[in-house]
Symmetry: C2
Subunit: 366 residues, 2 copies
DNA sequence: TTGTACGCGTTATCAA
DNA sequence: TTGATAACGCGTACAA
C-alpha cells in the first residue's frame, strides 16, 4: 500500500486547532453559512498555519460538481486545436475551473475512450470536436446522463447540444468569388476530403448543384468545397473535376504531391485555393519547387492563417479563423449551461475574415 | 441545489441487481480481490446493463490516488508547449492517466495559482516548466507534501525533483562553431534575454569567459548565449557586444526590430544565430524586408524547427528540439515516481541535432 | 451562531 | 470466497 501524503491537513485538523467543529470550520473556509468574526479569524489562522488546502475530490463527491471541464481535441499539438484549447483554458481558469484534455486523433475509438475517461473523472461538462457526425451514441448517452456537451468546429447530426462553428461555406465562397472577380477562371482547390467521407467528389458536386444537400453537418473541408462549388455556380463557371485535389491523409507530404499534380495539369490553373493550413504548407512547398512565381503565375488563397504566412514574400492571402475566440465561446457556452441554463441548444457561428495580402493578382489575359 | 445526474448507476445498484454485496461487486469491477467466476459474470452483466461507470472521485478519495497528472505549461498555444504536452498526454493516456493543464504565461503569480488549483484537485504529480529558478517555495512545499514533481525545459536551483532538459549550451556552441568553421567571424545572436534575468550582457559574457558561472540553472536562452560565447572563446574570436541582440518581450515584432538593428550595423554580421523559433521568424521577416539574400549575404541558423523552415527557399538550417520526446520523458519519469520509485532526483538531458539545410554558406572573403 | 450526525461512491478490513 | 462495516474529506440538514 502506498503511503499517504504527509502533512496533508484536513478540515478536521483545522477545526481542532481552532477549537471549533468541522462544520464551523467548513463554513468559514468554504464561504457558506454564518460565523462570528472572532471565529472566522481563528479558523483562518489555523488553516493558514497548517497550510490547509481543501480536497476538491471530497467536495465534488458531495456536491456532484468537480469544477472541471473535459476537452476532447483532435490533436493538441496542431496550431488549430492548441489555440482553441488556450481559449477554453483562459475562460475556465477565470471561473476557477480546471481543464482535462484528451486527444482523439480524429479516431472514433479514441474519442469513445476519451469520453469514457472524462466521464469517470466526473467532469462537469464535455467540450468536444466530434470525429463522426453520425455515430455518436456515446455523446447522446453522456447528454442523457446530465453531462452537458458543447461541440466545436463541427456538429453531430441531430445532437441536442450547444455548438460553436465557423462559417466555412461562406468564407470559402467569398474567397473563390474574389478570385473569380480578379479574372480567374481555372481555380484549383486542394482539400483533405478523405478522413470524413461524404461520398465521391462528382456526386457531391452534383448534389450541391442541385441544391439537394444540407451543409450544416458536413465536415469543415467539405463545407469549404461546398462554397467553392457555389461560387462557381453563381458566376456561371463550369466546374472542372480535375481541378479538385482530394488529399487522403492529413499529411503535408500528401498535400505536396497532390498540389504538384494540380500544378502540372495541362491547362494549369491560374489560382489555387487551399482548404486548410496544412494544405497551404504543402502547396507552397510544391509551388516553390516548381519555381512558380506567386502571384504572377499563380494566385493563392489559403484557409487558416499561420504565422509564417505573413512574413513570406509575398505574404499569403488567407481566411483567418478566430480560434481562440472559438475556444472561449465554447467555454462560455459550457459555463452558462453549468450555471443552470436550460435553453434549447444554441449554435454560435463565428464569422471569418479574408486577410488580403500579396498572393493574389489579376489573371493574365490569355 | 442543482439536480443530480439522472441514471447515474452506482456500484450499490449494480450489486443489488446482481444480488451480491457492494464489496463483492467492487472486487470484480475494480479488479482487486477474489470472486468466483459465476459471480464475476453476474456482476459484469449487471454493470453492463446499467451502464455502470466507476466514480473515480470516490475511488480517489479513498485510495489517495486520482490517476491524474497536472501540467503547468507556459502557453499551450505555442508549438513548443503544445508538442511537449502531446508527448505527456500520449504516455499518460497509455497508462490510464488524465492530464489537467494550466498556463502560467511564464508569470510566477500564475504558476502559483495553477499549482494551487492542481494540488487541490489532488493530482498525483506535477509536471512543470518553472517560471523562476529561485523563488519556488510552492514547488518545494508540494514536494514535501508528497506530490512528486518533474520539471522540464529548465530547472529550479536546488529543487530535489526530477527534470528533463535539453543540451542547449552544447547545441548552441556547436552551431556557432560550424558557422566559424565556415569562415564567419562576425556572427550575431538574437535572443530573448529579458523575461528571466541573469544580469546584464557584458557581465554575463565576462563571467562565462572567466568560467565563473554555473549554467545548469540558467534559462534556455541564456544557456544558448553561453554556448555562443564558448564557441567564440574556443576559436579565439573576440566577442563584439554589439552583435548580441537582446530582445525584451517574447514578441515577434520585438524580434523583428532587434534583427533589423543588428543587420543595419556598420560592419554587418555575415551570419545570424537566432535563439528560438520566434526570434527566427522575426529575423526572417527583417531579412526579407531588407532584401538580403540567404545564404549568400547572410547565413542563418535558428534554434527550434518549425514546419515552415523546411519549405522556405532556401530552407533554414536549424537546431531541432525533440519536443514530443521531452514530454514523453517527463511523463515517464513521473509515472515511475508514482509507481513508487524512491531514487534520488534524476536529470535527463536530451541531445539536440543540427539539421543542415540551405541557409548557411561559407563567408565571403573580405 | 454553532455543533451533531449523516451521506456522497468507493475501497479496505476483517470476520464469517 | 463473500459480506458487513468502517473509513476517505467534505457539505448540509437539523437540532441546540
Amino acid at each position: 500500500m502506498a503511503e499517504k501524503r504527509i502533512d496533508k491537513a484536513t478540515i478536521t485538523e483545522v477545526a481542532r486547532l481552532a477549537g471549533v467543529s468541522t462544520a464551523t470550520a467548513g463554513r468559514v473556509l468554504g464561504g457558506y453559512g454564518y460565523a462570528s468574526d472572532e471565529i472566522k479569524k481563528k479558523v483562518k489562522a489555523s488553516a493558514e498555519r497548517l497550510g490547509y488546502r481543501p480536497n476538491l475530490l471530497a467536495r465534488g463527491l458531495i456536491t456532484g460538481k468537480t469544477k472541471t471541464i473535459g476537452v476532447v481535441a483532435g490533436d493538441i499539438q496542431s496550431p488549430f486545436y492548441s489555440s482553441i484549447l488556450r481559449g477554453v483554458a483562459d475562460v475556465a481558469r477565470a471561473e476557477g475551473f480546471g481543464v482535462l484534455i484528451t486527444n482523439s486523433d480524429e479516431l472514433l475509438a479514441r474519442e469513445l475512450e476519451a469520453v469514457q475517461l472524462l466521464l469517470e473523472k466526473q467532469v462537469d461538462g464535455l467540450i468536444v470536436a466530434p470525429c463522426d457526425t453520425e455515430r455518436s451514441d456515446h455523446l447522446r448517452k453522456a447528454l442523457k446522463e446530465g453531462c452537458p456537451i458543447v461541440q466545436f468546429d463541427r456538429m453531430v447530426n441531430g445532437l441536442r447540444a450547444d455548438a460553436v462553428t465557423v462559417d466555412n461555406r461562406r468564407a470559402s465562397r467569398e474567397a473563390i468569388a474574389s478570385l473569380i472577380e480578379a479574372g480567374h477562371r481555372r481555380i484549383a482547390i486542394l482539400a483533405e476530403l478523405e478522413r470524413w467521407d461524404s461520398g465521391d467528389i462528382a456526386s457531391f458536386v452534383a448534389r450541391v448543384t442541385s441544391r439537394s444537400i444540407e451543409p450544416a453537418n458536413l465536415f469543415p473541408s467539405w463545407q469549404r468545397l461546398f462554397g467553392y462549388v457555389e461560387a462557381h455556380l453563381a458566376a456561371g463557371i463550369e466546374i472542372d473535376r480535375a481541378l479538385i485535389g482530394r488529399v487522403g491523409a492529413y499529411s503535408l507530404e500528401a498535400a505536396r504531391l497532390q498540389a504538384l499534380q494540380l500544378l502540372r495539369l495541362p491547362g494549369r490553373p491560374t489560382a489555387l485555393f487551399t482548404a486548410d493550413g496544412l494544405m497551404t504548407a504543402g502547396a507552397i512547398d510544391a509551388i516553390t519547387s516548381l519555381g512558380l512565381a506567386i502571384p504572377d503565375e499563380l494566385s493563392l488563397i489559403g484557409f487558416d492563417d499561420l504565422d509564417w504566412m505573413s512574413f513570406l514574400k509575398p505574404a499569403i492571402t488567407a481566411v483567418v479563423q478566430p480560434l481562440t475566440a472559438m475556444g472561449e465561446t465554447a467555454a462560455r457556452l459550457m459555463l452558462d449551461r453549468l450555471s443552470g441554463s436550460e435553453s434549447p441548444p444554441r449554435h454560435v457561428t463565428l464569422e471569418l475574415s479574408l486577410t488580403r495580402r500579396g498572393s493574389v493578382a489579376r489573371a493574365r489575359l490569355s
